[in-house]
Every structure is written in structure tokens, then in C-alpha cells.
């Protein structure tokens, strides 16, 4: 039998793609068969990515060349630079890959109960599987134009998925805004790729990084890349699409789109640390700019969430603030370089990526359960739901404590690393971040009080608990939150530290490709 273990990077793209296009054919036969098929494909993808993670943590950087004679043959003897598309997987890619497949599986599990069976339902699952394929492709690739193609696949699928709820007209407005801003960002990214190709005649990230001289055209390309990817990641002042898109989509789509946003954030980190990562020129000005924009994100997110009366829109503004926390840690690491407290800040920022998607994801799923049971989105029409929906109340409480950074949840672990390392940079930033975190606790407690506690409203007399599939997905996330909160040292040593050290030395990334072969 052929050694399938070696071909896992290619199978991670091929299996969801095959599943995505077989789903409409299966959907015409039987509805339950289609649901089981989607969950099976995503479970298979998750199992393969766990195997790949194990392999990368023990053996180092893994390469896969498309269409060559052996998978690790980056350039044959007759040619001196790599000419094919190469997937290059190191510690940071594996970290983001684990996030994407876990969130993808939970989104599909949640949407089995949430999305009611209408006539356009097969396209929903096809688009969800295509979104997951695009995210996985963005995180595994080592080629610039391949990254652009996968970013476009992801944003087209996400825009079509945001417009799923066809009864409300606001979802079309949100989908249009998301699509226009995504395509502007992608066009600027393509312009930057054109600049870099015209200078160096190569599209491979390792090849360009090894022959990078920091000319004027390269600086223009850096500015365009950071602008485009920061717009896709939702950094202020380019965050305007986030409250609309996260607030109007169904909650299972929202957590998948959140994972896609974090994949764009991974792209930003990869371009700053590896493509322009040669130690001759320092990017401290870029780091200072990112820290400033991250502080604005935190302040905007925390204050605008106070005045919202729509349930999901308030949590969407909290997501904007959380992106600010991640980039605060990463920008500090870019500003001071990889020495003294720079690597600690990078560890905090990367750990916060995983924590944030779990916390805010759980909040979105819990509010989705409330919307499913009551068909109400506005805070003034909800009240006293804790008697009827006990499990949802507990899950919302766990998510609330984690997102506000209370021990023993995982949000506390990553936020304290960020506070300590940012304090060494400038004490005012750290104080501002702590105050914003306290403000977000106040916001969430207010939402919790007005939705779950208090007297029971007359129009909510016959709400019942939500179906099992939604409860199981919320339970899995809560378990992950509590485990990460109780054993943060274990998680940091085994998952986050390899990612941070893979970003800290770009030479190992470059040498793996250029010296590869057999």
C-alpha cells in the first residue's frame, strides 16, 4: 500500500474539496446521509491534521512539492531555484491549522440543528466546506500567489454564507459590504505580489526572503501587504465590516468567518516575520504602527459595545477589541525584535489567538441558541431565560468569564502575558488594555443580566432548551476553555512555544526550501 502518511498536506486540501462537491449529489438522495457525510469529512480532516501536527513537532519543517517526483524535492538538479508550488509547514502553520479544523468541525456540528431545511440548503454545506478548504490552504502554503488564490476562495465563500438568512434584508447589506471590502483588499495584495515578482522573478516565499534587498519597491509592497491583510483581519480603522458581518450572519457561519479572519492575521504575521524577516533591516516602525492601531481597536471595540441594543452586534464589537489584544502582543514583538521580552510578547499574542476564537465563539454560539429558541435579537425584548434554558446559561457564563479575562479561564493566562510584556514597552498601553478588559466585563455582565436573569417576559412563555447538536458543540468548546485555563503551561510548552520559535528564526524556513532535494 502506498505511504499515505507522507501525502497528508495534499490530502488536507483534496479531502474537503471532494466532500464539498459530492455534497449536492448526496443531498438529493437523503438529508441525514448528507449531514453524516459532512461530519465524516470534517472528522477525517481533523484526524489528518492531528497526525501532521505530531509529525511536525517531532521532525521539524515539512515540505510538499506539487507534481514533482518525490514530495520533498523542491528543486531538481538541473534548476537552481524552486519552480513548483510548495507547501511548507512549520510550527506556526500547524497551530493555525489546528484552530481551523476544530472550529470548522464545530461549526458544521452546530449548523445541523440551527439551519432549517429549506431548498437552498446543499449550497450552504458546499460553501462551508469550501471555506474550510480555503482556510487550510492559506495556512499551509509557502507560495505567494497560492496564498492570494486561497484568500479569494475564502472571502467569496464567506460573503455568500453571510447572506444565508434570506428573510432579513440586512444580511444582504452586510454581505455586500464584506464582499466589496474583501475584493479591494485582495486587489491591493495582488498589486504587491506583482511588485515582488517583477523584482525577484520568483513567487516562493523562501526564495524571495533569501534574496530580499530592501529597495523602494519592496517598501511599497510591504505597505500594500500590511494594509490589505490588516483590512481582512479587522484592525481599526479598517474594522467597519466586522460588526455588520458578524452581527447579521447565523452564528455557525460567524465562528467559521472568525477563523477565516484569523487565517488572514496569520498571513500578516507570516509576511512580516518571514518574508521581510532578514535581520539586516528592522521593522520597528511597522511594529509601532501596529501597536498604535491595536490600541485604537481595543478602545473602539470596548466603548462601542456599550451602546448596542442588538445582541450579536455587541459581541461582534467585543471581537474587534480581541483582535486588538492579539495584535498588541505581536506588534510589540515586531517593535523590539526577538530578544528580551519580545519573544514573550509574541507567545502571549499567539496564545491569545486560540483563546479568543474559543471564547468569543462560545459567546456567539450561546447567543445563537437564544435566537433559535426565542426568534428575538433585541435586548429589550429578552429577559428571564435562565429558568427554561439552564445549559445555555452556564455556557454563556463560562464564555463571559473567559472573554473578560477572569481566572481560571484561558483568557486570563494569555492576557496576563500580554499585559506584562507590553508594560515593559510603555506602561500606559498596559493600563489602557486592563481598563478596556474591565469595561468588557461590565458589558458582558449587563448583557447576561438583561437576557438571562430578571423577571420572565410574557411573550417568552414557551421557550425550550435547544437541540442536542448545538449543546454538544457548546460543551466541547467549554471543556477546551477550562482545560486551557487550568493547564496553561502545558499548552504553551507544547503548542505555542514551537510556533513562536518558528517565527523567531526565519533562516530555518528559508534553508528548508533552498537546500531541499531528495
Amino acid at each position: 500500500m502506498i505511504d499515505l502518511f507522507e501525502h497528508i498536506p495534499a490530502l488536507l486540501i483534496a479531502v474537503p474539496l471532494l466532500g464539498a462537491f459530492l455534497t449536492p449529489l448526496l443531498g438529493k438522495v437523503n438529508k441525514n446521509a448528507r449531514n453524516i457525510w459532512v461530519l465524516l469529512i470534517l472528522a477525517l480532516t481533523a484526524a489528518m491534521s492531528f497526525l501532521l501536527a505530531q509529525d511536525v513537532y517531532t521532525n521539524g519543517i515539512k515540505l510538499y512539492t506539487f507534481g514533482a517526483d518525490i514530495p520533498s524535492l523542491t528543486h531538481p538538479d538541473t534548476v537552481s531555484i524552486p519552480v513548483r508550488i510548495i507547501f511548507e509547514i512549520d510550527g506556526m502553520s500547524v497551530f493555525m491549522l489546528l484552530i481551523s479544523v476544530i472550529i470548522g468541525f464545530l461549526a458544521a456540528l452546530y449548523s445541523i440543528s440551527f439551519i432549517k431545511d429549506e431548498n437552498g440548503i446543499e449550497r450552504y454545506y458546499t460553501l462551508l466546506l469550501l471555506l474550510i478548504t480555503g482556510m487550510i490552504g492559506m495556512e499551509l502554503t509557502g507560495d505567494l500567489f497560492n496564498f492570494f488564490v486561497f484568500i479569494e476562495i475564502t472571502s467569496i465563500s464567506a460573503a455568500a454564507l453571510i447572506a444565508t438568512m434570506v428573510d432579513r434584508e440586512q444580511s444582504f447589506e452586510a454581505a455586500f459590504k464584506y464582499l466589496v471590502l474583501s475584493s479591494i483588499g485582495a486587489l491591493f495584495l495582488l498589486l504587491a505580489i506583482g511588485f515582488l515578482y517583477g523584482q525577484y522573478d520568483a513567487l516562493n516565499i523562501a526564495t524571495i526572503a533569501s534574496s530580499m534587498q530592501y529597495t523602494f519597491a519592496d517598501r511599497m509592497a510591504l505597505v500594500l501587504i500590511i494594509g490589505a491583510l490588516a483590512l481582512k483581519a479587522g484592525l481599526a480603522p479598517m474594522h467597519m465590516w466586522m460588526p455588520d458581518a458578524y452581527g447579521e450572519a447565523p452564528p455557525s457561519v460567524t465562528i467559521a468567518v472568525m477563523a477565516a479572519t484569523l487565517a488572514s492575521l496569520y498571513g500578516l504575521i507570516r509576511m512580516c516575520f518571514t518574508l521581510y524577516g532578514s535581520s539586516i533591516f528592522n521593522l520597528s516602525v511597522i511594529g509601532a504602527l501596529i501597536v498604535a492601531m491595536a490600541m485604537i481597536s481595543i478602545i473602539i471595540g470596548a466603548t462601542m459595545a456599550l451602546i448596542q441594543s442588538n445582541l450579536t452586534r455587541a459581541i461582534a464589537y467585543a471581537a474587534v477589541a480581541e483582535i486588538g489584544y492579539m495584535l498588541l502582543g505581536i506588534g510589540t514583538a515586531l517593535h523590539v525584535g526577538i530578544n528580551e521580552f519580545g519573544e514573550t510578547a509574541l507567545t502571549g499574542g499567539i496564545f491569545h489567538i486560540f483563546n479568543d476564537v474559543l471564547d468569543v465563539g462560545l459567546l456567539f454560539l450561546a447567543t445563537g441558541a437564544v435566537i433559535y429558541a426565542t426568534n428575538e435579537k433585541s435586548l429589550s425584548n429578552l429577559g428571564g431565560l435562565a429558568r427554561k434554558m439552564k445549559f445555555t446559561t452556564i455556557f454563556f457564563l463560562i464564555g463571559l468569564l473567559a472573554a473578560a479575562g477572569m481566572p481560571p479561564m484561558n483568557g486570563f493566562a494569555s492576557k496576563i502575558i500580554i499585559y506584562e510584556s507590553v508594560y515593559r514597552l510603555n506602561p500606559l498601553l498596559s493600563i489602557g488594555a486592563i481598563l478596556a478588559s474591565i469595561l468588557m466585563l461590565a458589558i458582558f455582565v449587563r448583557i447576561f443580566y438583561s437576557v438571562f436573569l430578571g423577571p420572565e417576559l410574557p411573550n417568552l412563555k414557551n421557550v425550550r432548551e435547544v437541540p442536542k447538536a448545538m449543546l454538544i458543540s457548546m460543551a466541547i468548546i467549554s471543556m477546551l476553555i477550562i482545560i486551557f485555563g487550568l493547564f496553561p503551561g502545558y499548552v504553551i510548552d507544547n503548542l505555542v512555544a514551537p510556533a513562536a520559535s518558528a517565527l523567531a528564526n526565519p533562516e530555518s524556513y528559508i534553508n528548508a526550501v533552498l537546500l531541499g532535494g531528495a
Binding site: 502506498i2 499515505l4 501525502h7 495534499a10 490530502l11 483534496a14 474539496l17 471532494l18 462537491f21 459530492l22 449536492p24 449529489l25 438529493k28 510538499y64 512539492t65 506539487f66 507534481g67 514533482a68 517526483d69 518525490i70 514530495p71
Partner: protein, 156 residues
């Protein structure tokens, strides 16, 4: 609303010629400029020519949207399966080039008119992509024509 008699006749006469040209561009993608997407777009414009000539009501009687969706899935599945067939070496490996099967001859070097029987896996992938593009683009135009009709555009 369908057009006058002249337009209906001319579009019926022009349709097979444009379709043959589009299929030629798809099949010869490894020798001349062209390939899957380009040829598929040409055949889709031939189908849209028929749609513009006869009106969406007539076309809706003959082709349902579900059939186009099945055709699209078949094209995409064909592409991914062809890429997976070479998985014993790598993904997307061209295992038909140089072997004694369907598209396996090695092209001669120097200036020559070109041999259709070469280049391995590429013509098969071109055909899959061409089928998908024909179905996809025609479905897009047909759905947009339906919506305009149902929203009360011109009197059908």
C-alpha cells in the same frame, strides 16, 4: 419576451458554430493559447446567445437549474479525482506523459504544427474545467434572467 423571427433564426444558426469553436479551444489547450476557462466561456456565450434570442421562459422549459448543478459538480469532481490519481508519487503528478496510454506521446522539439496526442493529464483536466465553466456561467446568467423576469421586468 422572445425577439423577432430574424433574431431567433440567426441565433439558432450561429449557435453550433460558436460551440464548435469553443470546444476546439478547450481541446487544444496544450498546443495553442486557450484551455479550460477560455473555451468554457466561449461555449457559455453561445448558450447565452440562445437565451437572449428565445427568452428565458422557453429555455426554462428545457433545462432545469438542478441539471446544471449536477453537471457542475461532475466537472469539479473530475478535476479533483484526476489530480488524486497520481497520489502514489505526488498530488497533481502527470503520470500519463511519456507512457503508452491515451495522451502519452512526447512532443517533438523544434518548430512543428503540434501533436494532439501529447501532454498527459492536461487535456483531460482542461475538459473537466471546461464542463464546469460552461455549466457555472450559464447557470449564473439564467438565474439572473429569472430574477429580473419574476421581479416584473418586461411583460413575459
Amino acid at each position: 419576451m422572445s425577439e423577432s423571427k430574424i433574431i431567433k433564426t440567426i441565433s439558432s444558426i450561429a449557435f453550433p458554430f460558436v460551440m464548435i469553436y469553443g470546444l476546439y479551444v478547450i481541446l487544444h489547450g496544450h498546443l495553442t493559447p486557450g484551455g479550460g476557462f477560455q473555451g468554457g466561456a466561449i461555449v457559455a456565450s453561445a448558450c447565452v446567445l440562445l437565451l437572449a434570442g428565445y427568452g428565458s421562459r422557453e429555455i426554462a422549459k428545457r433545462i432545469k437549474e438542478g441539471q446544471l448543478s449536477v453537471l457542475e459538480s461532475i466537472g469539479a469532481l473530475g478535476f479533483v479525482s484526476l489530480a488524486l490519481l497520481g497520489i502514489s508519487t505526488t498530488f497533481f503528478y502527470n503520470f500519463l506523459a511519456g507512457s503508452h496510454s491515451i495522451f502519452g506521446r512526447i512532443p517533438p522539439f523544434g518548430s512543428n504544427p503540434g501533436d494532439l496526442n501529447t501532454a498527459g493529464l492536461l487535456p483531460l483536466m482542461n475538459i473537466s474545467v471546461g464542463i464546469k465553466v460552461i455549466a457555472g456561467l450559464f447557470a449564473i446568467v439564467m438565474v439572473l434572467a429569472f430574477v429580473t423576469w419574476k421581479m416584473g421586468g418586461r411583460k413575459q
